[in-house]
Amino acid sequence: MLGLDTLASLLIFGVLLSLEYALVALGVTIIFGLMKLINFAHGEIFMLGGYIQYYFLLWTGLNPLVALPVSFLAGLAIGSAIERALIRPTYTTSLSKAGEYAVIITFGLSLFLQNFALFGFGYEYRSPPALWPVTITVGTLSISGDVVLTSVMAAVSIIAVLLFIERTWAGLSMKAVAQNLVGAQMAGIRPAWTNNVGFALGAGLATIAGALLAHTYLVYPYDGVLPVLTAFTVVVLGGLGSIKGTLIASFIVGMAYSFLGALVSFSYVNIYGLVILLIVLVVRPQGLFGQKERTF
């Protein structure tokens, strides 16, 4: 029933989709791995990245690729400020129930940012100029250059972040804090510093994803909600806090969306995520590569 060219196009679409999901989900994973908290405002930082990209290009008229580092740097600043102002009490003071505090405070932040964008930037759908205005044709399959370049840039960003974590002093100390907080502190690493860097990096990944996807999708105040839901699915599927798990899970979810969307129905694409999430929680609660926590 499936022709070979349809299969090929679904595969390619799936790979492109999974790179985009991996980029959004990687930020959530880094923040969870370090601080054991879920940043519910991730989607709104993603949305801000889209607006930064749009307005920067509107005002300067530069090449979109030049604007990407600007979005990334803005994301670093936003993330660092949020961590400093709101998240720091969860690990510096002996706050009871720090996790729930963080959930409510980041949820409040996400509402604030959504409505801030709604009244600050308006509810119109906006679209920045094309990233690479060509159409690539391979056999019977044609893809817009935007989608291809977005996925390439996503792959480049993911590899850069992995290199940062594996090869630099800051990245290694982040890894140490994620593995064992007390051990890292005894080795002279300040968790306040690594957490700030990690949160900023997560937010930077969110803004760069928002800026990249702004070219393919549209920019509007609620555009971060659905990508970040997919990212949450990916993160749970891969195991909370595991970077390897996140990358593999985003591949699985991207393929599932591509094939289920084409074969079953495209309208329900965002519900497949919930179904996958629930199946994973039934079969393997800690996710593919997560560590089994003590449960009650």
Binding site: G108, L111, L274, F296
Partner: protein, 339 residues
């Protein structure tokens, strides 16, 4: 019958009699307030007492409303039967969702409920042939030709019963176990509390409250839209207990009263900035007043200030207990001995 109970009784009687003469706007406001009170008190059981961040309260209410309304339309049964079906279905759904997600820590429940509520909203919007899509669905009225006062009596009655039930629950053994789980799940588990069962109970109970509120409000308003289950609504529900004081019984009531009142004032005089305001108020109260209004009123500093005012001497007023008497008697005794 002590003085507080007598006062509450008289106050209740006066309010109930007043409802018959009150202007329609007040009655509508009271019904809306009762709907949010039901949802907020239910959310407070899971979010405040057992301290689990659940985002599915608005989605449960909307789901119950849709199930009830569609059951009535498609089977032609009377409205109360549809309401019962909606409530039972949502209890089953919340039990199942809790059963799956509560095996892991609280972060998983937060993620799963946020995905659940968005999925419900998307499913209700996409499935236009069945649910009417974003334009909404129109349930049958609960009381055909009912006046606002009749609905108001019903809502006030159900809400007060629910609040009283929660009050009794928190005083009961199960309520104490729930508080223990919320304070420190490891300590509770070490003392032999079945943490997972208690959490599941609290989550299912919050689903029950949401379902009751949802079906009543749907058949009162006679229009439901998928956006009723959005995260914005969830924020409105959560803001009340957070502002009033999580885990207390009067905190969510006071907080919801303030939040719903403020929402009406903001929407009337400023514009649609209510959710923006709720986001800010959530952050501010979680950061600076984690125990809300009730926590502020019962904090040692405020209490000692109140006692100082009451004793009129500027000295902190000490409550005399048998221990105080005993201490003074003994110190007199030692002084005598020294002489």
């Amino acid at each position: 019958l002590n003085l507080t109970k007598a006062f509450l009784f008289v106050l209740g009687a006066v309010v109930l009699i007043y409802l018959d003469f009150a202007p329609v706007e007040y009655l509508t406001f009271a019904v809306v307030l009762c709907y949010y009170l039901l949802l907020a008190v239910g959310w407070n059981i899971v979010g405040g007492v057992t301290y689990l961040a659940s985002f599915a309260q608005a989605a449960f209410a909307t789901l119950a409303a849709y199930i009830s309304a569609m059951f009535v339309t498609y089977t032609g049964s009377v409205v109360p039967v549809g309401m019962a079906v909606g409530i039972i279905a949502v209890i089953a759904i919340s039990y199942g969702l809790g059963y799956i997600t509560l095996r892991m820590g609280g972060a998983y429940l937060a993620l799963a409920t946020i995905a659940f509520s968005e999925s419900v909203r998307v499913w209700l919007t996409v499935n236009e042939s069945l649910t009417g899509g974003a334009a909404g669905y129109f349930p049958a009225p609960l009381i055909p030709g009912g006046t606002p006062a009749e609905y108001c009596y019903l809502f006030v009655g159900v809400t007060i019963t629910s609040i009283y039930f929660t009050y009794r629950l928190l005083k009961s053994k199960r309520g104490v176990l729930m508080k223990a789980v919320g304070n420190d799940e490891e300590a509770a588990s070490a003392l032999g509390v079945n943490v997972r069962a208690i959490r599941l109970f609290a989550f299912t109970l919050s689903g029950l409250f949401a379902a009751i509120g949802g079906v009543l409000f749907a058949h009162y308003l006679q229009v439901i839209v998928p956006a009723d289950g959005s995260l914005m609504e969830q924020a409105t529900i959560m803001a009340g207990p957070i502002v009033g004081g999580l885990g207390t019984i009067f905190g969510p009531v006071i907080g919801t009263l303030i939040i719903i009142g403020a929402r009406d004032i903001i929407r009337t005089y400023l514009g649609p900035y209510d959710v923006l305001f709720f986001g800010i108020i959530m952050i501010v109260s979680m950061k600076f007043a984690r125990n809300g209004i009730v926590g502020m009123l019962t904090s040692p500093r405020v209490r000692s200030f109140g006692r100082r005012v009451l004793s009129r001497t500027g000295e902190p007023f000490r409550k005399r207990t048998s221990a105080t008497n005993e201490f003074e008697r003994r110190s007199e005794f030692t002084q005598q001995k020294g002489n």
